[in-house]
Symmetry: C2
Subunit: 212 residues, 2 copies
């Protein structure tokens, strides 16, 4: 596959937001929108919207604007939402269970196919029809099923080793919820959700803006 140009992460991270807004417009029966109108709703510049979209092609029409349904669909394609993705959860504690119970991921084609934990109390339990397996069974499972994404919601002590193994066994995406930085081989993508970092930056801003 010949990539024309590397798209910056700043752009990529804005795409889901565009996708969400366009979805809402679609639900409200809006058929067309200009970059200016969308920019006012989203509180960004129209220039940025047009630049962002033109990284991927010309989706609009001069003098008219953008067809909402078409643009929504195209951004979905860019994000890879026309494919389904299979996921497993490694670590079925509080957070793992919460994510396992999320049904909205499925709507976007993210299907949960496996749950793993070391805790014998959890093994054998089922969440939404999926049985929690012992972590010893994970290698076999991953090699047998095509696993696109592993959700890492386990204690941080074992994350590094687990991530290395999963990468070795062919998992291409790691959604990491541990406060640990994973350095994995090329070709494996890591997306971190550092809740404690997020909370700390909120604390900073609260303290900074005291008395504003």
């Amino acid at each position: 596959m010949t990539e024309e140009r590397k798209i910056s992460m700043a752009v990529i991270r804005r795409l889901p937001r565009y996708y969400r807004y366009l979805g809402e417009l679609l639900d409200n029966g809006v058929t067309k929108i200009s970059s200016r109108e969308l920019s006012e709703k989203m509180k960004v510049t129209a220039s940025q919207i047009r630049q962002d979209l033109n990284n991927f092609g010309g989706f609009g029409q001069q003098g008219y604007g953008y067809n909402v349904e078409y643009l929504h669909k195209e951004i979905g394609k860019i994000l890879g939402l026309e494919n389904t993705h299979s996921m497993i959860i490694v670590g079925v504690g509080n957070l793992g269970q919460a994510l396992a119970n999320y049904t909205s991921f499925e709507k976007r084609g993210f299907n949960l196919i496996g749950l793993f934990d070391v805790n014998p109390r959890l093994v054998g339990m089922s969440i939404r029809g999926i049985e929690v397996l012992d972590i010893d069974k994970m290698e076999e499972f991953v090699k047998e099923h095509k696993v696109d994404i592993a959700i890492l919601t386990m204690p941080k002590t074992k994350v590094k080793e687990t991530a290395e193994n999963l990468a070795k066994w062919g998992v291409r995406g790691l959604w990491n919820f541990s406060p640990v930085d994973l350095f994995v081989p090329d070709g494996v993508q890591v997306e971190n959700v550092h809740l404690s970092h997020s909370l700390m930056t909120l604390a900073y801003r609260i303290n900074e803006c005291e008395g504003e």
Copy 2:
């Protein structure tokens, strides 16, 4: 308070990571570190570390480097971690419960003091000694207790209204887990955790890097 200069969010978002690494060094008994050594560990440039830190003052010593304990403590102060912060959770579903059970926030001074939900089945239940109250009691509670941060883990339909109310009642930080953009008055800080966005960007990268 006279702010000298506006610090960019890019810098702020790196601070928790510095804080974490320095904490680890501290635990390992490391007493001093140079920006170069730290940069190698963290895979960032030494220049960036020095620039970032010098936004807040000179914490190092020429020819020596940085004292790990001192720097760790100072970054903690910058992030506001020497203060405690009181938090409530609004919406005690799967994710709300998971966050309520997190004990690690407490270690950093983030104390949970209230839980609220509309669901009569959840009201009256206790998590870690905190009773879930009916959402009708929230206004009174917030006005009586000093609430710094509200964690919004409720269905998205009610988030906008709830956020506006909480802001009105004096809550200064909103940690928002709903796929909704909140536009609140100045002085109220919003930190979004858009899990679905995070997952979509991971999907994009997996698809993009196919065959790499």
